[in-house]
Amino acid sequence: MKITIIGILFFLAACLAILRTVKKIQDENIGFRSGLIWILLWVGIGFFGMFPNILNAAMQFAQMGNRVLFVLVLAVLILLAIVFNQASNMENMNRNLKKLAREIAILNYKLEKKNKDTPSQDE
């Protein structure tokens, strides 16, 4: 199987992306689960970038004549899945944020009331 310069560049870029993702997991900037998904994605990109001919079998299975089109469709599907996942995470975060804001409001109210009811030391 012939390896092209473009293939090697793809591989190097994927390696860099994997290292970056591992660093982000270590720094806890992303969760372990989503980090793992990203690593798998980069591995796939690096592998198919280096050995694009392997895609031919998948292309035939999907009945697509053009390798570029196949990769694009695959990329769009993966992006949609990521966007869906992010949207549902954001909705969840938004809900938790609102709950937290309400709890803070009630706690502040209780605290202010307590401060008002307790006579200060100076008096």
């Binding site: 609102k98 804001a101 309400r102 803070i104 409001a105 009630i106 502040n108 109210y109 009331k113």
Partner: protein, 239 residues
């Protein structure tokens, strides 16, 4: 002599410094008034404090539904017996509160809704309200089995003990911004009873309402759909 009931009045307010003073000045001293400030940028909070109200402030703007829920929760924590919720924009009159209490006592119902349709000045209501309100209400009645004439009214009274029974329901609301529809569907399942009293809706003294009717309609439909899709709701048995 029976113990005097604690009546909590919840006013939800967002940038209402121009209207709030009028409403608070009409409020009877026998009520415990809570102003829930929904992250206002104006003088709403200070004004409410000056009038001696108990002020709960959201650090950010969360919308009217959640603001009302914060008010209910605070009033329940402080031992209210009856919780009345009204708007702070001057459209609801504090003079009508005794009607709610009387009706609740007489009918022993859990919720009393102020019906604008039964009020004497409904003929002068805006076109969109007159067109869509009966449709929304019909839909809610069909889904709940209640027989209301105005399911979307923001002027309501709750028996606090009944609200405490469904406190978890209130916390789990999915679309509190359009809470009327979701709330009634969940309350009907919990077996709470509803009656109505006629109310007269005043015009806003100043400022603008933050609700559009089409957007509101879409919100109501979305709330209904999401409530029925909610797994926890579907798994709850009817009372």
């Amino acid at each position: 002599m029976p113990d005097k009931k604690i009546i909590a009045v919840i006013l939800t307010a967002y940038n209402e410094e121009k209207n709030l003073g009028n409403v608070l000045s009409e409020m009877s001293d026998s009520y415990v008034v809570y102003v829930v400030d929904d992250g206002s940028h104006d003088n709403t909070r200070q004004l409410a404090t000056d009038y001696g109200s108990r002020v709960v402030s959201h650090p950010i703007n969360l919308g009217q539904g959640l603001t009302a829920l914060t008010g209910y929760k605070t009033a329940m924590l402080e031992g209210a017996d009856i919780i009345v919720k009204m708007d702070a924009d001057g459209q609801h009159s504090p003079a009508e509160i005794p009607k709610f209490i009387e009706k609740m006592e007489k009918t022993n119902s859990d919720i009393v809704v102020g019906s604008r349709i039964l009020g004497t000045n409904y003929a002068s209501a805006p076109f969109f309200r007159k067109t869509f309100l009966p449709v929304y209400t019909w839909l809610i009645n069909k889904l709940t089995g209640y027989q209301m004439t105005d399911a979307m009214s923001g002027f309501r009274a709750f028996r606090a003990s009944s609200l405490r029974r469904v406190a978890k329901v209130l916390d789990d609301m999915i679309e509190p911004q359009y809470m009327a529809s979701e709330m009634f569907i969940r309350f009907a399942k919990a077996g709470l009873t509803v009656t109505e009293v006629p109310i007269n809706m005043g015009e806003r003294k100043t400022g603008t309402s933050y609700k559009g009717f089409i957007r509101y309609g879409w919100g109501v439909l979305r709330a209904i759909l999401r409530t029925f899709l909610d797994k926890e709701f579907r798994n709850t048995k009817n009372s």
